[in-house]
C-alpha cells in the first residue's frame, strides 16, 4: 500500500491544562476527506498540527512523507486555507494570489495566479482591494491562494463559511475536480450537509478525540448497539404494530399520533424482508417504509451526545 498523504500517530496537543487534541491517530489517502465535529472539538488545532503551524505535544505527524514542522520543502506540495478571515487587506485579489504563488516558489506566478483566480470565478473582482470584498469573496480568493501552486495536498479549514448557495455548488464541483486529478483534500466543517455531499470519507472529532472514521454509512452500521428507527406508514397501524411486536428482529414499536408506526430494530435488513409478507398476510396496505437515522446527522448527534 502506498504511503498515505497524511499520517497522524498518537498525537496530542495541550495548551496548559486544556487538552485540545487527545491521542488521535488516523491516515488520510487521496480523495476528499471531511473533518467533522462541533465547535471547539479540536478540528482547527488538528489542522494546524497537520499543516505545520503548531507542534504536537506528543506523537508524530507525517505529511507527504515529511514532518511539516521541520521539512520546509514539503510545503511546496501543501496548500493551506486557514479559518481566519484576515488577509493582507492592502493588496488586491490578484496580488494576493501572486504573492502566495511566489512564496511557494512557482516559476510563473502571474500565469498560475490567473488560472487559480479563474477557477474560483473571481476574475472580475481581482483588481479590487481585498478589503472591499464580501466574506464569500474573501473565502474564494483565499482558496485560489491555497491551490495556486498546484499542491498535492489541500488543507481547508471551514472553507464554506459565508458562501452563498451558488458558490457552494461551484466550490464542490471545483473540489471534486481537484480530487479527481489525484490530489488529497482534507476539509473541515461543522456543517453536516457540506461534508455529506463533498466527502466520501469522514473523520468525526468530538472533544479532542477521534470518535469515528470512515464512510458514514459504514460508521452507522458500526454503531450496532444502537438500534435503527424505521418508519412505516400503512392503512391499519395498530394491527400492524401488534404483529410487528411479535417479531424477534424488532426491539420495540411506537404508534404515533398521525398513525405512523416507528419500529426499533438492530437488523433492518431482516425486518425489511419480513415486512411485506406480514402486511400481505394481514391485508394491510403499506404506503411508506423509511429508515429514519441512517444519515450523517443522526450519527453525528449520537456520537456527540455519547
Amino acid at each position: 500500500m502506498t504511503e498515505p498523504a497524511i499520517r497522524v500517530d498518537a498525537v496530542s496537543k495541550w495548551y496548559g491544562s486544556l487538552v485540545a487534541v487527545n491521542d488521535v491517530s488516523f491516515e488520510v489517502q487521496t480523495g476528499i476527506t471531511g473533518l467533522l465535529g462541533p465547535n471547539g472539538a479540536g478540528k482547527t488545532t488538528l489542522l494546524k498540527l497537520i499543516g505545520g503551524a503548531a507542534a504536537p505535544s506528543q506523537g508524530s505527524v507525517r505529511v507527504l512523507g515529511g514532518d511539516p514542522r521541520t521539512n520546509r520543502a514539503v510545503h511546496r506540495r501543501i496548500g493551506v486555507m486557514s479559518e481566519h478571515e484576515a488577509t493582507y487587506d492592502l493588496l488586491n485579489g490578484r496580488r494576493l494570489v501572486e504573492l502566495a504563488a511566489r512564496l511557494h516558489e512557482v516559476p510563473d506566478a502571474r500565469a498560475a495566479a490567473r488560472a487559480a483566480i479563474d477557477a474560483v470565478d473571481m476574475a472580475e473582482a481581482a483588481g479590487r482591494r481585498v478589503a472591499t470584498y464580501s466574506r464569500g469573496m474573501k473565502q474564494r480568493i483565499k482558496l485560489a491562494a491555497a491551490f495556486v501552486h498546484d499542491p498535492e495536498l489541500l488543507i481547508l479549514d471551514e472553507p464554506l463559511t459565508g458562501a452563498d448557495p451558488r458558490h457552494r455548488v461551484e466550490f464542490q464541483e471545483l473540489l471534486h475536480r481537484l480530487a479527481a486529478e489525484g490530489r488529497t483534500i482534507l476539509v473541515s466543517s461543522h456543517i453536516l450537509e457540506e461534508v455529506e455531499s463533498l466527502a466520501s470519507r469522514v473523520l468525526l472529532v468530538v472533544s479532542g478525540k477521534l470518535a469515528a472514521e470512515g464512510d458514514h454509512h459504514a460508521i452507522r452500521a458500526a454503531l450496532d448497539e444502537r438500534p435503527y428507527h424505521v418508519q412505516v406508514v400503512c392503512s391499519a397501524p395498530r394491527r400492524l404494530a401488534a404483529a410487528l411486536v411479535e417479531l424477534d428482529t424488532v426491539d420495540s414499536v411506537q404508534v404515533g399520533e398521525d398513525g405512523d408506526v416507528v419500529l426499533l430494530s438492530r437488523n433492518v435488513a431482516a425486518v425489511q424482508q419480513s415486512l411485506p409478507a406480514l402486511a400481505r398476510d394481514l391485508s394491510i396496505r403499506l404506503t411508506r417504509v423509511e429508515p429514519l437515522d441512517d444519515s450523517l446527522e443522526s450519527v453525528f448527534e449520537y456520537l456527540v451526545e455519547r
Binding site: 494546524k48 499543516g51 505545520g52 503551524a53 503548531a54 507542534a55 520546509r72 520543502a73 514539503v74 510545503h75 511546496r76 501543501i78 493551506v80 486557514s82 481566519h84 484576515a86 488577509t87 493582507y88 492592502l90 493588496l91 504573492l99 502566495a100 511566489r102 512564496l103 511557494h104 516558489e105 491562494a145
Partner: protein
C-alpha cells in the same frame, strides 16, 4: 524573498506613520537652529549632550525604531496573517531578513537625513570645525542604532502581544531612567552603543559625553552581540512558535 520585502514595506509605509516619522525627524532642526544661533555659542560638548544624546539617540531613534519594527511581525501576529509566510517552503531567515530590511528601509531615510542635516546645520551655524565628518558620523551611527533597535523590536513583536509596552519600558525606563543613575547599564544599552559608534567614527572631535560614553570596543562588541543574538532569537522563535 523580495515579495515579502515589498509587501512589508507597503504594510509599514502607511500615510500617517510616514508623516509622524517626518515630524519626529524634523523636530531636532528647531533645536539645531536655536543652538546654532545661541549666544554665547555652544561648545561641541554641549551640542552632543543636547542634540545627539538628548534628542536623537534618546528620543527620536528609539521611537522611530518602535514605530517601524514592532509592527513588522507584531501586526502579522495580531491580524493572524503570519501563517501565510511561515507555511511555505521558505527558510525562516528568508522571512525574517526582508521584514528587518523593510523596517529599516521605512525608518532610515528620515532618520539619517535628519541627523545629518541637523548636525551639519548646527556645526555650520556656530561655526565649529569638522561639520561634514561630525554629521556623517552621527548619521551612520544612527543607522546602525536603527538596525540594532529594529532587531530587538522585531523579536519583541514575535514574542509578546504587547511589544510596544515592553519596548517603551526598555527604552525609557531601563536605558533612560535607570541608565542615568546606574553606570553599569551603559554596557547593556543600545543607546550607548550608538553613541559609542559616533565617537568611534569621529574620535578627534567627539568630546561630549566623555564621562559616560562607551569606548569603541565595547560599543562595537555590544552592537555585534545584540544584532547576532537577537537575530538568532528571531529565527528560533519562528521555528518553535505556534503560528496563530
Amino acid at each position: 524573498m523580495t515579495a515579502i520585502y515589498v509587501l512589508s514595506v507597503r504594510q509599514l509605509a502607511g500615510r500617517w506613520r510616514l508623516l509622524i516619522l517626518l515630524a519626529l525627524c524634523a523636530a531636532p532642526f528647531a533645536v539645531a537652529a536655536a543652538a546654532g544661533s545661541a549666544h554665547p555659542p555652544p561648545t561641541a560638548s554641549h551640542i552632543d549632550d543636547v542634540l545627539l544624546d538628548g534628542l536623537w539617540a534618546s528620543a527620536v531613534l528609539p521611537i522611530v525604531a518602535l514605530a517601524v519594527a514592532t509592527p513588522a511581525f507584531g501586526n502579522e501576529l495580531s491580524d493572524k496573517t503570519l501563517a501565510n509566510l511561515t507555511l511555505t517552503p521558505l527558510p525562516h531567515w528568508r522571512i525574517a531578513l526582508p521584514k528587518l530590511l523593510a523596517a529599516v528601509t521605512v525608518g532610515a531615510p528620515a532618520l539619517v537625513a535628519g541627523t545629518f542635516g541637523s548636525v551639519l546645520l548646527v556645526f555650520r551655524l556656530v561655526p565649529l570645525p569638522g561639520a561634514g565628518r561630525a554629521a556623517t558620523a552621527a548619521a551612520l551611527a544612527m543607522a546602525v542604532g536603527l538596525v540594532l533597535y529594529s532587531t530587538v523590536f522585531l523579536w519583541a513583536g514575535l514574542v509578546t502581544s504587547h511589544p510596544l509596552a515592553l519596548g517603551l519600558l526598555y527604552v525609557f525606563v531601563w536605558e533612560g531612567l535607570f541608565g542615568t543613575f546606574v553606570n553599569g547599564i551603559k554596557y547593556l544599552s543600545i543607546r550607548q552603543y550608538t553613541l559609542g559608534i559616533v565617537k568611534t567614527l569621529d574620535e578627534s572631535r567627539f568630546s561630549g559625553l566623555e564621562r559616560h560614553v562607551l569606548g569603541s570596543t565595547a560599543a562595537i562588541a555590544g552592537a555585534a552581540v545584540v544584532a547576532a543574538g537577537f537575530g538568532l532569537l528571531v529565527l528560533r522563535r519562528l521555528r518553535r512558535m505556534d503560528v496563530p
